[in-house]
């Protein structure tokens, strides 16, 4: 037990995930590190194609081994996952670590009943009988708030509503009481009321079982709701990391400023136009030199000697807080104050 006390529950160190394609090598994740403690929630934010989903599929070992090169280390509870055998990973998947996918309709098999899909995970990892698995599936459906679970257990996914399907998906992921739960945009396709219900459900389950959660989203509102820590990804790298309150209140990286600026607020004036980040996400086939955000960054010219284009900023984390940007702390305070002022006007 001493070893688990010293090291975090999940630790990702200098993770690199490169795909070889016909056009060249795609550096989907390029040197990512983070830790996650037991019972905590890490929110990973970033635009589409920033490497959020790839990171988490790699943790579960669901990447295609033929075309993917994974470097670095992923340790779960002291066990190295990168390079672990398929049979080792099979025992962990769905059992110690589980995943909730974004599109529940596409992610559930249309050919099997909900009960069977929940039950087969349980049977695989516990060796339970069909009857026991069915009882367990009903119990799980009840726990995630499906009405009449003993009847709905024999339904097929297409007979469920969108919110219920996502609940069933959560039931499936939690059936073996996993210690790590990865939720890949689980609420993106749902309407706001259902979204709130699902978030509450996840929080309740986390409190009950002490599950560690990685929550992937591009919605900072969701992050504000559920996360303890936030990791902002851009172009396959982490650009800013820290406790939720600090990242949302005093963001340090211009990209995070952009993300926050492009988000509508309910308490602010309604006629303030949203400010989208100019440009589009970088090509991971041929990423920009230096800081990957510099072609879209409004502050790149404030750094001396064109360093943003030539020198890759180093992510320095002190007490779980840090950013990868060449701006000085002083500049940062000044620009952030300006931004706040312009928004208030």
């Amino acid at each position: 037990m001493t070893s688990t006390d010293q090291q975090p529950f999940l630790s990702v160190k200098d993770l690199k995930v490169h795909f070889s394609t016909e056009d060249g090598i795609v550096k989907a994740v390029d040197g990512l590190s983070f830790d996650l403690a037991r019972g905590k929630t890490l929110g990973i934010v970033g635009e589409s194609g920033s490497g959020k989903s790839v990171t988490n599929l790699t943790i579960l070992g669901l990447h295609n081994p033929d075309s993917t090169e994974v470097e670095g280390s992923i340790t779960l509870d002291g066990q190295e996952l990168n390079g672990a055998s398929e049979s080792t990973l099979e025992k962990l998947r769905g059992n110690k670590m589980a995943m909730i996918f974004q599109d529940a309709l596409a992610s559930l098999s249309p050919y099997h009943t909900i009960g069977r899909q929940i039950g087969e995970t349980y049977r695989k990892h516990t060796g339970a009988s069909k009857q026991e698995a069915r009882v367990r599936a009903i119990e799980m459906l009840r726990r995630v708030g499906i009405p009449q679970p003993d009847r709905r257990v024999d339904d097929y996914p297409h007979q469920f509503s969108g919110g219920m399907r996502q609940r069933a998906m959560i039931a499936m992921a939690l059936v073996c009481d996993p210690e790590l739960l990865i939720a890949d945009e689980p609420t993106t396709a749902l309407d706001v009321t259902v979204q709130a219900q699902i978030m509450d459900l996840l929080k309740d389950l986390q409190q009950e079982f002490g599950t560690s959660i990685i929550f992937i989203t591009h919605d900072l509102g969701v992050i504000a709701d559920i996360a303890d820590d936030v990791l902002v990804m851009y172009g396959g790298r982490c650009v800013e990391r820290g406790p939720k309150e600090e990242v949302l209140r005093t963001p340090q990286h211009p990209y995070t400023w952009g993300l926050l600026g492009s988000m509508p607020t309910l308490d602010g004036p309604v006629d303030v136009p949203l400010t989208p980040i100019p440009g589009s996400p970088p090509s991971l086939l041929n990423p920009p030199s230096g800081c990957r955000f510099h072609p879209r960054c409004a502050f790149a010219n404030k750094v001396d000697g064109n360093r943003c284009a030539t020198e890759s900023p180093v992510l320095e984390i002190v007490d779980g807080r840090g950013n990868a940007c060449h701006l000085t702390d002083e500049q940062r305070r000044e620009f952030l104050a300006d931004l706040a002022a312009s928004k208030a006007n």
Binding site: L60, N95, P110
Partner: protein, 326 residues
């Protein structure tokens, strides 16, 4: 299920009615007189008229069609030949044999050919296709894909004689193709049909390899297959219980249609191996202007295709719970 069956069977009856009517009309679209051919060299107008009457072709066309149709349900009286009990498909213009009897006689040959070869091409086609899908992009996949492309561009009338020459005449490895009823001698039935089965299956195997591969490749990239792996299920379980389940539907559809076609007679195969099945019967009845025989073969063949479609829809609904039978 009952509603589905009733509805589809009614639809099938209408389809068959239309097909028989079209066959009937097409037969007479070419000016011809089957009686003149039956009459022989010394043919007086009286004899010709008598033959016409016996054949039942002296009536107006709608009447003739009605006679044929009602014969199926209530039987029919033929002057000079006798009474033909329901279901009556008439008698051949050429040799005056009962059409139903002839079709029944030929059908086992065609059915044996179709069933035997489909066992071969399903096993090898689906097996190779699955292997190719597992080894996607690897050498095995490339070999299987190229080989199936070559094989599917082969023709029976080429592969058939080559196979006969190599396997039968030169090496005597396999028996000369011939049909022996299964009930008479199962071993002879098997050895006699082996060469036609293999040749017919070769080309179809190629098609099924390609279809299976592409279906599997598609379903293997489905989200629900990824979910199954994320649950910790083994590659094997994921492959068969999830990916294959998804690939099955389209394959069943195509197999159903192919089976209907094969049961209607593989005429080129039958010709190549001198087997007397429905395919050869159809060709001969066209050449001989044998209307009752042609109609008989057409209606039986069409019935198989229509039936196969109904079975396919029912099976599809069993595979995919999203499909509702109505």
């Amino acid at each position: 299920m009952l509603r589905f069956l009733v509805r589809r069977l009614l639809g099938a009856a209408v389809t068959l009615l239309i097909i028989s009517a079209i066959t009937f009309m097409l037969f007479y679209a070419v000016p011809r007189d089957p009686a003149r051919m039956a009459c022989g060299k010394v043919c007086t107008p009286d004899t010709l008229e008598l033959i016409r009457h016996n054949m039942g072709i002296d009536d107006p066309l709608p009447q003739q069609y009605w006679n044929w149709l009602s014969g199926i349900f209530v039987g029919r009286d033929y002057t000079g030949i006798g009474n033909c009990n329901a279901p009556c498909l008439g008698y051949s213009f050429v040799n005056h044999e009962s059409v139903l009897g002839t079709v029944k006689d030929r059908f086992p040959t065609t059915a044996s050919l179709a069933l035997g070869s489909s066992v071969v091409f399903l096993i090898f086609g689906i097996g190779t296709g699955m292997l190719a899908a597992v080894k996607q992009g690897k050498a095995l996949d490339k070999i299987a894909s190229s080989a199936s492309l070559v094989a599917s561009s082969m023709q029976i009338y080429f592969v058939g004689p080559v196979a006969l020459y190599l396997l039968v005449y030169q090496t005597h490895l396999l028996d000369q193709p011939a049909y022996t009823p299964f009930t008479e001698n199962p071993a002879a039935w098997f050895t006699g049909l082996l060469v036609p089965w293999l040749v017919l299956a070769l080309i179809w195997t190629a098609n099924y390899t390609r279809m299976t591969r592409s279906q599997m490749v598609e379903t293997l990239s489905e989200d629900y297959v990824r979910t199954a792996r994320a649950k910790g299920l083994s590659q094997r379980t994921v492959f068969f219980r999830f990916a294959w389940r998804g690939a099955m539907g389209p394959l069943v559809t195509i197999f159903g249609i192919d089976m209907g076609v094969l049961l209607g007679g593989a005429m080129i195969t039958e010709k190549t191996f001198s087997l007397q099945g429905l395919g050869m019967l159809a060709v001969k009845s066209v050449i001989n202007n044998d209307l009752p025989m042609l109609l008989g073969v057409m209606i039986v063949t069409a019935a198989f295709v229509v039936l196969a479609n109904i079975v396919v829809d029912a099976v599809y609904a069993m595979i995919d719970p999203r499909i509702r039978l109505a």
